[in-house]
Amino acid sequence: MNQEIQDIDFSFVLASSVHDMKNSLGMLLNTLSEVMTQYPPQDDIHAKSYAVLEYEAARINSELIQLLSLYRLEHDKVRAHIDECMVIDILSEQVARNYGLLQTRAVELVLECDETLMGYFDSDLVGGVINNILVNCARYSKHKLKLSAAQTAEGLCITIEDDGPGYPDDMLNASTFSETKASFANGLPHLGLMFANKVALMHRNKSQQGFIRLSNDSSLGGGCFRLFLP
């Protein structure tokens, strides 16, 4: 019996149940948005409750997706599938995905990207990174978010800025976002950044490799997340 328990790959069990949870949550999110259209909020308190419900569900959803993605990056040898992409498509896709969330939280999002800007990256993985940072920023920003992209000397740079309090010092000082920095004990696993970092590292071109950079020099006065893809 003991032997049997040892033989179970716990991370596999976890991944399978995460997959199920994600599916249920998908149904929950759909039902929630149906309820919200059928019964529009009557007052501010009502609207706020809806916003909380929607935000927290979206957050769980994106966390679960990341857990699954991280598991797969480790176990299934999933590699970045790099192809030519129109950057504006990937950015606006993520904005559309979070449309309801931003609206209920009354956060205005500015999208700045040249319509013809092209990049070479895995659109699913990079889309996942942007989505997660957006969901997170929606929580900390006061009124405004800015999502932008441009070609730089270090490669394509996707930037997400907010007008919140900025990233805490320990996050800014962390030189990498590898697993060792993730400590569940102090409640700061930075799962999203870990995932973002992993995805960045999977993008290589010749001698260059992708990376992420955090700072508090946002043009909106808050935190600034940058993803560089060579």
């Binding site: 994600k22 599916n23 949550l25 998908g26 149904m27 999110l29 759909n30 039902t31 948005s33 149906e34 959803n61 997706i65 699954l68 993605s69 797969r72 299934d76 040898k77 999933v78 590699r79 599938h81 790099i82 192809d83 030519e84 129109m86 498509d89 606006s92 896709e93 559309a96 995905r97 449309y99 309801g100 319509e115 013809t116 092209m118 070479y120 699913d124 996942g128 071109n205």
Partner: protein, 544 residues
């Protein structure tokens, strides 16, 4: 909305959840699509697709019973129907696209992950319709098979360096290869690869090299792709093709096996693994792969009775090598052959074939009485439906008779067939699988060539390649005594090099045992057979 550009469009939603169908239908109507149909099952979806042209089909991957979304797409793209080039959007709860895509051969126009919001859907649809519109002249040229026109249009589109340059490069490469303009294709792919290592361009380069006859460079490119992106299944497929052309069947099996490991749900690859495993006499691999192929065939367009029959045959051959190992396969094979008339139409041919296979499976399962019953049912039907009895059925009849030890009758039928088809080279080639010496010109030459190759390997003491050579030939000519004895001799050579490998002894004994059953006393090679038997006995007793 007077200027709604989508008002005239027709959409079909396929999902087994009602709430999802309603939500999605509402979203499509808000987007502006004029008419939206919804169905809950794959059979309803295909019925609708045969009756009406849809501009776009939104289909869930997991539909419960029946076909999956991918299998619906397979049918739409593969068979003549009203929706062979409609936009197809696959919807799934699976967030990792590559995992789903790796399993199949057809790519939908778009892939959406649940949960879907009205905004996400609207945006994606707008992009799809815009691209459809922008590239309409190219698609039209392709549909009308005006390849040069399609190529010119693609080039113009690439020149203008707009957002459709990327997709046009992919189309152009394929078209150039179809047109036989290899140098142009090579330049296109090389220019892309100079900027960035992209797997589709590497694959295009490999295809170009193969078509130019440079299979070594093609192989190099393919190995690079697999290193770079191990999920690029088309690279394995092409590599397997190249190895097959080079008659490196073991290499081919290894590559097909790798592809199957990545995409176990791909029916085409399971079928291919069954075939190559069977050819290499790797019966366990063959039987397992055929079994999976049969299972996957249940809802697939690519199902074929051939693989059901081959599953039974692989099981039968496996039983001759290892009874215990074969037991579960034989049990399944009985069900599979009995089910052939249900799956492939209740015709006389399919019923007779089903009985004949059943009889053979029963013999090796040790149920000779039941086997004889099945055989006589088959013979009764063959007697009263002579017009339905073709060569294939007669070949199966000979096999069944031989399994039951009815040599006299089986050889009478063989003689009759040889007489009947004496001037028909094509049919004679089929009969050769029953003979100890091929009678068709083509196969005579083939066996001579194989023997020459095998003997050359033998003489240069490359025994394992000699073994491979004779083994794969025996798959096509299982009754050929000369090939069989050559194989034993090659195995003996190999055993002298690797005396620890007891499996080789077992292999030799099995081959000799079978040869004893089929060799006539007056066969020209009978003396050689007895000598080899003597030698093998010596090797075995030395071991003890």
């Amino acid at each position: 909305m007077p200027d709604n550009p989508y008002a005239k469009l027709q959409a079909l939603i396929v999902d087994d959840f009602e709430s999802f169908r309603i939500t999605l239908s509402k979203m499509l109507q808000e987007f502006g699509i004029g008419a939206v149909d919804s169905v809950s099952s794959s059979s309803d979806a295909l019925r609708h697709c045969n009756a009406k042209v849809y501009d776009i089909i939104l289909c869930d991957q997991n539909l419960g019973k029946g076909k999956t979304g991918q299998q619906i797409l397979e049918v739409l793209r593969h068979t003549p129907n009203l929706n062979s080039d409609s936009l197809f959007v696959l919807v799934s709860a699976e967030s990792n696209k590559s995992i789903i895509m790796a399993a199949y051969d057809y790519e939908p126009d778009a892939y959406l992950t649940k949960p879907i919001t009205g905004q996400t859907l609207g945006q994606r649809l707008e992009r799809l319709f815009k691209q459809r519109l922008a590239l309409a002249p190219i698609y039209k040229a392709l549909k009308e098979n005006q390849l040069q026109l399609a190529a010119d249009l693609c080039e113009a589109e690439i020149q203008s360096a707009n957002r459709y340059s990327g997709p046009c490069q992919k189309i152009l490469g394929r078209v150039l290869l179809q047109l036989g303009q290899f140098e142009k294709a090579e330049n296109l792919y090389r220019n892309i690869l100079d900027v960035r290592q992209l797997d589709w361009a590497m694959l295009g380069m490999a295809q170009t090299k193969k078509l130019q006859g440079d299979s070594l460079s093609a192989q190099q490119w393919l190995e690079d792709i697999i290193q770079f992106n191990p999920l690029c299944l088309k690279a394995y497929d092409l590599l397997a093709e190249i190895l097959a052309e080079r008659a490196d069947y073991h290499g081919q099996q290894k590559v097909v096996q790798q592809a199957v490991d990545i995409s176990p749900l791909s029916i085409l690859r399971q079928q291919a693994l069954g075939d190559i495993g069977f050819k290499n006499n790797d019966l366990l691999t063959a039987a397992s792969a055929y079994r999976k192929a049969v299972k996957l065939g249940e809802n697939s367009y690519h199902d074929d009775v051939k693989f059901h029959e081959n599953f039974a045959h692989a099981g039968i051959q496996l039983a001759k090598l290892d009874k215990n190992l074969a037991v579960p396969f034989l049990r399944d094979a009985l069900k599979v052959v009995a089910d052939i008339p249900n799956r492939f139409g209740k015709t006389n041919t399919s019923k007779i074939s089903s009985y004949l296979l059943e009889s053979q499976v029963l013999v090796v399962s040790g149920e000779e009485r039941r086997a004889a019953e099945s055989l006589s049912s088959a013979q009764k039907m063959m007697g009263s439906n002579e017009s339905d009895v073709d060569l294939t059925l007669n070949i199966e009849l000979v096999r069944a008779l031989r399994e039951l030890g009815n040599k006299e009758e089986s050889e009478k039928i063989v003689a009759g067939l040889l007489e009947q088809y004496v001037d028909d080279e094509e049919q004679l080639q089929k009969i050769d699988c029953l003979l100890d010496e091929p009678c068709s010109a083509k196969n005579k030459a083939l066996v001579a060539q194989i023997n020459k190759n095998g003997i050359a390997f033998y003489e240069s003491k490359d025994f394992s390649r000699a073994v491979d050579c004779f083994t794969s030939a025996l798959h096509d000519f299982p009754q050929h005594i000369g090939l069989r004895l050559n194989l034993v001799q090659a195995l003996m050579g190999q055993f002298k090099q690797e005396p620890g490998k007891d499996q080789l002894l077992i292999n030799m004994q099995q081959i000799m045992e079978y040869t004893r059953k089929i060799i006539p006393d007056r066969h020209v090679q009978y003396r050689r057979f007895r000598q080899l038997e003597e030698l093998l006995r010596g090797l075995t007793s030395a071991k003890k």
